[in-house]
């Protein structure tokens, strides 16, 4: 779960990270009153969860009150990468002397948290990592002991030799680590961490992404999630016990297991089709769950046929077949369905599905070929 900038800022503030003065606004009027309160000029920043907001024209400076209203109006009617802009952060415009990047994330290879700093702040850090890796400095954090103070100091000295600034950066790094750990984040970053007039260090942006698996121990985050339309569908699926991700093709998929679901999509593509979705129905699948999964697949009007690919394993195929028939009684389906079942009692499953509209097969490749043929 990604937090919005204005939400992340609040957690930064709570732990003492200096952030630029600013408030969130949902209307041009609100934006104006914030601007009046904090003083012009201001920066208006769209609050959408995509990278590259600046490049997309979602960050603008307003010097006059008229400008604030005009720009707020413009930004609030924008759509960035398919996401409607609903909120703006109105922040005091500051004179930037120097920009740094500081962030914490999970490093899969070393199985540790990693502190990343760079003096190439204010730009996409992934681009920096790719094009000029020498500008990236990393410290892998001890999993048991956490980040040591001396490590934060070391990183700050790497960024600047200026003794008026480095200690402030070190302090911010330690506080950012606290944000990162206390929120069970996958990512907590400040980009840019700016040096402004008076040698003050200020977080001009705030980005926090929280581990979905850790939500059970973070009641303070409840209600902060602002899902997009697409994500609402994914959340609905999750509440019903399966995983659904919408794609752009016309072959609906219903599969047990994430790896097999990915592989099923791969095979559809390999044989010339396009998957309409990723759907992992999970382990124990009741007829009710299958019915609601099929219902969700067919909400997508592009879907011309469905492939159900179940590796029976411990569950018997005849039970799965009966469950499928029951599920199809519960939900109306107007597109052909190919069912691939394998596991114990395949013969019985074939028998059960014989005089039904379902097209049965026991081979994955054969099932994929059949469903691709159907949509041609």
């Amino acid at each position: 779960m990604n937090l919005q900038e204005y939400q992340s800022r609040e957690f930064f503030k709570k732990l003492g990270i200096p952030v630029v003065t600013g408030e969130v606004a949902s209307t041009p009027e609100e934006a104006l009153s914030v601007a009046k309160r904090i003083g012009l000029p201001v920066v208006l920043k769209v609050q959408v969860l995509v990278g590259g907001r600046g490049k997309a024209g979602g960050v603008k400076v307003a010097k006059t009150e008229d400008d604030v209203v005009k720009i707020a109006n413009e930004l609030l009617s924008m759509e960035i990468k398919g996401l409607k802009v609903k909120k703006l952060l109105v922040a005091k415009a500051v004179n930037i002397l120097k920009e740094f990047y500081v962030g914490f994330t999970v490093d899969r290879s070393s199985k540790r948290n990693v502190l990343i700093v760079s003096d190439a702040g204010g730009v996409d850090i992934e681009e920096v990592a790719k094009n000029s890796p020498q500008k990236i400095f990393k410290i892998y954090v001890d999993p048991i002991m956490g980040l040591f103070s001396y490590e934060a100091k070391k990183a700050s000295i790497h960024l600047t030799k200026d003794v008026n600034i480095a200690p402030k950066i070190a302090d911010t790094i330690e506080k950012l680590y606290k944000v990162y750990i206390s929120l069970d984040a996958n990512l907590a970053e400040i980009n840019p961490l700016a040096v402004v007039e008076g040698n003050e260090v200020l977080a001009l942006d705030a980005k926090v992404s929280v581990d979905d698996n850790a939500m059970f121990r973070h009641p303070e985050l409840e209600g902060l999630y602002e899902p997009s339309e697409e994500e609402k569908l994914e959340l609905e699926a999750k509440s019903k016990g399966f995983t659904y991700i919408k794609l752009n093709g016309n072959i609906g998929c219903l599969v047990n297991g994430a790896g097999l679901a990915m592989a099923t999509m791969d095979l559809i593509k390999l044989f010339g089709g396009e998957p309409a979705n990723f759907l992992d129905i999970g382990g124990s699948s009741s007829p009710e769950k299958v019915a609601s999964a099929i219902e969700m697949i067919t909400r997508d009007k592009n879907v011309k046929a469905i492939l159900i690919n179940i590796f029976g394993g411990i569950t018997r195929c005849n039970d799965v077949a009966n469950g499928l028939l029951k599920a199809l009684e519960m939900t109306k389906v107007n597109v052909p369905i190919v069912v691939r079942l394998t596991g114990t009692n395949e013969d019985k499953a074939r028998e059960i599905l014989k005089d039904t509209p379902l097209i049965y097969t026991d081979s994955m490749v054969d099932g994929v070929k059949k469903v691709v043929e159907l949509v041609k």
Binding site: V106, R112, P143, I181, D184, N213, M262, F311, G312
Partner: protein, 293 residues
């Protein structure tokens, strides 16, 4: 031979009184695994399918000399369950539980390593040494004793590939599901090191997917140090970038390779990659031939 577990492995099940724990404890027992006990706090003294239940892992180990555990406890309590197993002296910990926070795993994995134990998982199907022991949730009936070692980040996709290996007549030695999370215990390389020293394993199938760079690390290891042919399958060619495909770790980020790029990397290191699960078995057959050694 086989790797990590065999007919002498004494297994306990943590979370044995839960729905999944009890179901799979029975299935493991039926497969022939030495399931010597189970652990659920406050349920000590009872039994599940005749398997004695203990309150703590320590007690279970004292009474049964168990040396391996399979953890089914809910995600909230799984991190603690791992520490309990480590501190009771268990040396092989298989964690099936899905949904453990990554910060918990970072600590748990380090602790396990510090104490000289080994962890498989979490969010994995477990490990099976064919005909000897099953510590996990895979369907035992699809495996056939044979010549191929299997290591995978996935569950049902592994079963799909294993079925073809079994049908081809080659069969398997040990199959390990290492799990689909970003931070896991044993990785591809750790398992490959075990297969390297197993005389019965003549070839290895490595089932990978998008996300991270473990497949590439494994490919580097294979090129330099591995002594047996490896055939791979990589899932996620049709998956869009930036989307988490069910597994917490299955996501293409700006810093990781796409499925095609992973395949190209593996192939550049001399590893053949099947386009379909059945093709994996066909390639194996081509390499190993039909005859028994």
């Amino acid at each position: 031979m086989s790797i990590l577990v065999d007919e002498n492995t004494k297994v306990i099940v943590q979370g044995i009184t839960g729905r999944d724990g009890s179901f799979h404890a029975k299935a493991m027992l039926d497969y022939g695994t030495k399931v010597v006990g189970g652990v659920t706090p406050y349920k000590g003294g009872s039994d599940v399918y005749g398997i004695p239940v203990f309150d703590t892992v320590e007690e279970a180990v004292n009474k049964t000399s168990a040396n391996a555990t399979v953890i089914f406890v809910p995600a909230k309590f799984a991190e603690d369950a791992i520490y309990e197993a480590v501190n009771a002296g268990i040396k092989l910990i298989v964690t099936i539980t899905e949904g453990i926070p990554v910060h918990s795993m970072i600590k748990a994995v380090e602790y396990v390593n510090m104490k000289g134990a080994r962890l498989i998982g979490p969010n994995c199907p477990g490990i099976i040494s064919v005909g000897k022991a099953k510590l996990g949730i895979m369907p035992g009936n699809i495996f056939k004793k044979g010549r191929v070692g299997v290591v995978s980040r996935s569950g049902t996709l592994t079963y799909e590939i294993v079925k073809h290996i079994s049908d081809s007549g080659l069969g398997e030695t040990t199959a390990v599901g290492i799990g689909g999370d970003p931070v896991i215990g044993m990785k591809f390389i750790d398992i490959l090191k075990e297969f390297k020293n197993d005389p019965e394993t003549e070839a290895v199938v490595l089932v990978g997917e998008i996300g991270g760079s473990d497949e590439e690390d494994a490919a580097d290891f294979i090129e330099k140090e591995f002594n047996k042919p490896v055939v791979s399958f990589i899932a996620g060619r049709a998956s869009p970038k930036g989307k988490r495909m069910g597994h917490a770790g299955a996501i293409v980020t700006p810093n990781t390779r796409t499925a095609e790029e992973k395949v190209a990397y593996l192939e550049s290191k001399g590893i053949r990659v099947g386009k379909t699960p059945v093709e994996v078995a066909e390639i194996l057959k081509e390499i190993l031939g039909n005859g028994k050694k």
